[in-house]
Subunit: 201 residues, 2 copies
């Protein structure tokens, strides 16, 4: 016997397509929308259907831009130094660095990290486009700002090797103790890196 209406079942199934949402959460979200003001459902539905139509990728930095915009503001703004490029994996990494308020270079979004297990090789990323930018914009420094994970490190290594014979300065984000952590709780690798990278004060 049918207990839930088709429309509710479909909404539950649709929510389950999102990463990390299980059956209970999907039921909860669908029923929340059904029980509350239809305007909430309309707002979510509308904003989701607008997503692909209104967003584009900047052809220089591969950051997200409004449809119709030519380049990312983070590239065209005169205050940004085009000769310093922070290479990141995903658009939200740009947001994280921008939120520090301490970077006035430009970005290059790879669109992922090299991960053979997921079938992502260098050709799936915007690495060729990075070479072109280095040439076009006369880039002096590339900051490898990838995650401190296996994929992040191997992607950084791969890019670094490609620039072995060029005179572009390749740097990467410092590894060390995050602010606020107790020494005794730091893992061995972090502590080793913090020792290796110790600075005179």
């Amino acid at each position: 016997m049918k207990v839930l209406p088709t429309a509710l079942q479909q909404a539950i199934e649709a929510f389950r397509a999102l990463p990390g949402i299980g059956p209970r959460s999907a039921e909860r979200y669908a029923y929340f929308l059904l029980k509350n003001n239809p305007n909430i459902a309309k707002k979510i539905s509308g904003s989701i259907s607008d997503l692909h139509d209104n967003i584009d990728y900047c052809p220089k930095t591969y950051a997200l831009i409004e449809k119709g915009q030519k380049y990312s503001e983070l590239y065209t703004n005169s205050k940004r130094d085009k000769t310093v490029v922070a290479v990141v994996a995903e658009p939200f990494d740009v947001l994280a660095i921008e939120n520090t308020g301490n970077f006035n270079g430009t970005y290059h979004v790879l669109g992922g990290l090299i991960s053979p297990i997921d079938g992502v090789g260098p050709d799936e990323l915007t690495i060729t486009q990075l070479f072109k930018r280095v040439f076009d914009d006369n880039v002096k420094e590339i900051i490898l700002a990838t995650n401190a994970s296996v994929e992040g490190e191997s992607t950084a290594l791969y890019i670094q090797k490609q620039f072995d014979n060029s005179d572009v300065l390749i740097t990467r984000l410092a590894r060390g103790l995050p602010i606020g952590i107790d020494l005794e709780y730091a893992d061995q690798i972090t502590l080793t890196r913090a020792l290796e990278g110790r600075q005179s004060i």
Copy 2:
């Protein structure tokens, strides 16, 4: 400087309206939809916008039904015993009991539980409609199948009191040890209830 396109920001805000979704999860869901096939976004968007238009409440049981359907199948089906009514808080509770495959009575969905702190009194629930059903269908037994929470217990108590002077049998779901639990891990209230409700074997 604007880092994320408006459409993406709106989708993130919309997801945050759902219960228990924080900023990181909202970003993750919105970016997942943007990065993947537009059909996934279309499917979610469509199913959410369809929700209110295609779902109605059964005017007898207050379970969810398809728009255009008159009563819930769980009420009209000839195999269901209309004189036994399980009173539950929400539509998903109906699903939970149906999944046991061991109940052939009908349901009455209250639409919530009495909770003064949230401003929900008896008048916000379908209790008056339950009285009418008891009369119309000549109900013999009401099973109070509300949650074993403070709100669930006080709602059950309230309904039970309303039927003090009638000859309808009022029962409630047994309290006791859930299957598979070790005695030493059972909380005191559960164990007390299990002792009080002990059965001869």
